[in-house]
């Protein structure tokens, strides 16, 4: 096998981007995104098999290096991207039908998503810390316009915050990289910014400088992963971004940024011992969980609720990384994939709820089970999967992380984290069940529905997603108009639920058995922890 396979994960999305530039977004090209995502996933799988057999591959003049972690992250990127790409065409059609987007917006959306995927794949595979930095910053630039796609006041505000906070965080990481480079340049022999060289030279690095560098890099890349203290961009950006983009940001962007933190931790462990990175990550994880829990309880917007839940899960992942050891690291990686799939499903479901109801406020959504049973089922099951019910993989990985936490002597911290996770789970269930089951006035007249919601809803015309057109067909349309117009929106809705069902199925299959992925997880965990 030659280097071509190393190019596929970057070239496939770039080719997708070229397709959208050349032909625009139309029914024929709407599936190009799915094809490119499938290619990324397939090349990740092929590379993973290859790495397991022959060890890490270096190619393209040493610019690219694929080890077990990189191959696994390619699988994560491809899987979540495929999920999002499967739901994007129907979502875009819904936006266009609702008058919130034009075909031109759809073209730009698809183009930017492809560029985003290319940058993410490059960030995962780059052999050099500097190149990783460049590609992660490039994703900030690309996604800024996706976040601000709607051009409403709230969307522009979210995009501004996103760019300013993420660029600042990533600048902090750059300072860390430069200091690490300075420390490395004083080690005998030529040590550049190559991950492998840095890890092997780590025991000789100056501890004082490395300590500052590691702290800066963890905080900096942690910003992009949605970890405290620079986390405040996350709920705004996830709340305002289009649904497929929220799914991608939650499942891919946060995960890739955290995989960089994992690599930094490997350097830190070798240079400074386990204690430094552990203390830092435990503090960050608990702070992230605390912020997420406190803001989840009284949340009024369901997309923001899901965003805070993403923060929670990244907090759990950071906690698992702090516990360290091969088992915890494997659980962390499994959690990254499981969370990416489930959260992708939920954000895509949230996008469909937004289309069905016209509002992203929890109050405005009632009795989903009665109105859109398939979608409601997907969202309900997805939330159960998210809070760690078996058979979904989140259960297995959370269990692994908790056990590792107690095993690593982090007893009190683990207990505190568990309490916070429980609070968040309770809040999530309460909010979701209100959206799914609560009936304004039980089985009363259907005409009650708008009037019951009226004390809260009509005074919010400034809401970004509330042009009148999408709001009206939802509740009155289903009850008063004749059968034909109601059957029309229902039909694509059922088909649109297919990717959600497949995502949930994949996650539960992963929970029953990791299958061939188990070997990849083990190999990645071992290479990160330095275990034999």
């Amino acid at each position: 096998m030659n280097d071509v396979i190393l190019l596929v994960p970057v070239l496939a999305p770039l080719a997708g981007a070229v397709v959208y530039v050349a032909f625009g977004w139309r029914p024929a090209t709407s599936w190009a995104a799915a094809v490119s995502a499938a290619l990324v996933l397939a090349s990740g799988a092929v590379l993973a098999a290859d790495v397991l057999q022959h060890g890490a591959r270096t190619g393209l003049f040493g610019l690219v290096r694929v080890d077990a972690l990189a191959a696994f992250m390619l699988v994560v990127v491809g899987a979540v991207a495929l999920l999002a790409a499967g739901a994007t065409p129907s979502w875009l059609r819904g936006e266009i039908a609702a008058g919130r987007a034009e075909p031109r917006t759809a073209t730009r959306h698809s183009l930017l998503v492809q560029l985003f995927l290319a940058a993410m794949a490059w960030a995962v595979m780059a052999a050099n810390v500097g190149m990783v930095w460049v590609s992660i910053e490039a994703t900030t630039i690309v996604t800024a316009f996706l976040v601000g796609q709607r051009r409403s006041r709230a969307a522009v505000e979210a995009a501004w915050k996103y760019v300013v906070i993420c660029s600042t965080g990533i600048a902090v990481a750059l300072l860390g990289i430069l200091l690490l480079d300075a420390a490395a340049s004083h080690v005998p022999g030529h040590v550049g910014l190559d991950w492998v060289e840095l890890v092997s030279a780590a025991p000789h690095l100056d501890p004082g400088v490395t300590r500052i560098a590691v702290a800066l890099m963890v905080v900096g890349f942690g910003t992009k992963a949605g970890l405290a203290p620079l986390h405040s961009w996350l709920p705004d950006a996830h709340g305002q971004a289009p649904a497929p983009v929220s799914a991608l940001m939650s499942g891919v962007l946060l995960a890739v940024a955290f995989s960089v933190v994992l690599r930094v931790k490997a350097i830190s462990d070798a240079a400074l011992g386990l204690g430094f990175a552990r203390t830092l990550l435990v503090a960050i994880a608990l702070a992230t969980l605390a912020v997420s829990a406190s803001l989840m309880i009284r949340q009024r917007d369901y997309k923001r609720m899901l965003a805070y839940s993403s923060m929670e899960h990244l907090g759990i992942i950071a906690f698992g990384a702090a516990a360290g050891g091969p088992l915890a690291t494997a659980a962390v990686l499994l959690h990254v994939l499981g969370h990416g799939l489930v959260k992708g499903v939920l954000f895509l479901g949230a996008g469909q709820i937004l289309h069905a109801t016209g509002s992203s406020r929890i109050d405005a959504v009632r009795d989903l089970v009665g109105r859109v049973p398939v979608l409601a089922g997907c969202v309900g099951v997805g939330v159960l999967a998210l809070i760690g019910f078996p058979p979904f993989s989140v259960f297995a990985s959370e269990l692994g992380i908790v056990r590792a936490g107690f095993g690593a002597g982090l007893g009190w911290a683990t207990a505190l984290a568990l309490v916070l996770v429980l609070v968040i789970a309770a809040a999530l269930v309460v909010h979701t069940s209100r959206m799914l089951f609560a009936r304004p006035g039980a089985a009363a007249e259907p005409a009650d529905e708008p009037s019951a919601a009226s004390p809260t809803s009509p005074d919010s015309p400034g809401l970004p997603a509330a042009p009148d057109s999408p709001a009206s067909p939802a509740s009155p349309g289903l009850t008063t108009s004749p059968a034909s117009p109601t059957a029309e929106p229902a039909l694509p809705r059922r088909r649109a639920a297919m990717p959600l069902l497949l995502g949930l199925l994949a996650c539960s299959a992963l929970g029953v058995t990791a299958g061939p992925l188990a070997a990849v997880l083990d190999a990645a965990a071992q290479s990160l922890t330095g275990a034999p």
Binding site: N128, G130, M131, W133, V134, E137, A138, T140, I141, A144, F145, G148, R151, S152, R153, A154, V156, E157, A158, A159, W160, K161, V163, V164, S167, T168, A171, L174, L175, I177, L178, L179, D181, A182, A183, S185, H186, G192, L193, D206, G208, V209, R211, I212, P235, D236, G239, Q240, L295, R298, Q299, R304
Partner: protein
């Protein structure tokens, strides 16, 4: 270049970096801030040019020229254009922390920068590395400006201050990272500023102002 001249020029450039950072914190008129920012870009490229001359490194000299074009030319030009488009609201009206307190904070930040950079200076004592705390101080002052200013353009300047500081630390602490990486970094900074520039004009469309006080749609 003689050693004494090298050290003097290095100190001059470092001093100019720090002084301009403090002046940016002190001034409230945005046009003046942008002008001072251009001076700082010049000081930064002077710093790199001095290092290049000392080490006889033509690549580093090329980078110094690139920095001069970007940080003293392109970026200030973009900021001025954004200001011209913004019209009359050219004052940082209500910073979260007033000017006197900001200057005091800057003094504290410089002290912190010296304390934090100790291990770096000790690692390889040289004329260049003793200037590292200056770069660190500029980073911290930039971050302070970023979090305490409320005008979109002042925040942008704060971000760019951080970036200048980081670049200075990078060149003082190492002989420079790989050229490809440096190129990527500069491109990314330029792109980020362009994105923010576009967003600022959209903000003006949507809000009628770029005062971030009006950004109150999203909160919990």
């Amino acid at each position: 270049m003689s050693e004494a001249l090298y050290v003097q020029l290095l100190d001059l450039a470092g001093g100019a970096l720090l002084l301009t950072a403090v002046v940016i914190l002190w001034r409230r008129k945005l046009t003046a801030i942008v002008r001072v920012f251009a001076v700082q870009g010049f000081a930064l490229s002077l710093l790199v040019a001095v290092l290049a001359a000392h080490e006889n490194d033509p690549t580093l000299g090329g980078i110094a020229v690139g920095l001069l074009v970007l940080r003293a030319g392109v970026l200030p030009w973009l900021l001025r254009r954004a200001l011209a488009a913004a019209g009359e609201e050219q004052h940082e009206t209500r910073p979260l922390v007033n000017v006197a307190a900001s200057l005091l904070a800057a003094a504290v930040l410089v002290l912190i920068a010296y304390a934090v950079s100790q291990p770096l200076v000790e690692l390889f004592p040289s004329a260049a590395s003793t200037a590292i705390p200056v770069g660190m101080a500029v980073v911290l002052i930039g971050f302070f400006a970023l979090v305490t200013r409320r005008h979109a353009l002042s925040q942008l300047v704060g971000f760019l201050l951080m970036d200048n500081g980081i670049t200075a630390v990078g060149f003082l602490a190492t002989t420079g990272v790989a050229f490809v990486v440096e190129l990527g970094i500069s491109l990314d900074v330029l792109m980020a500023v362009l994105v923010l520039y576009v967003l600022a004009s959209r903000m003006r469309e949507a809000f009628g102002t770029t005062d971030l006080d009006d950004l109150r749609e999203l909160h919990d």
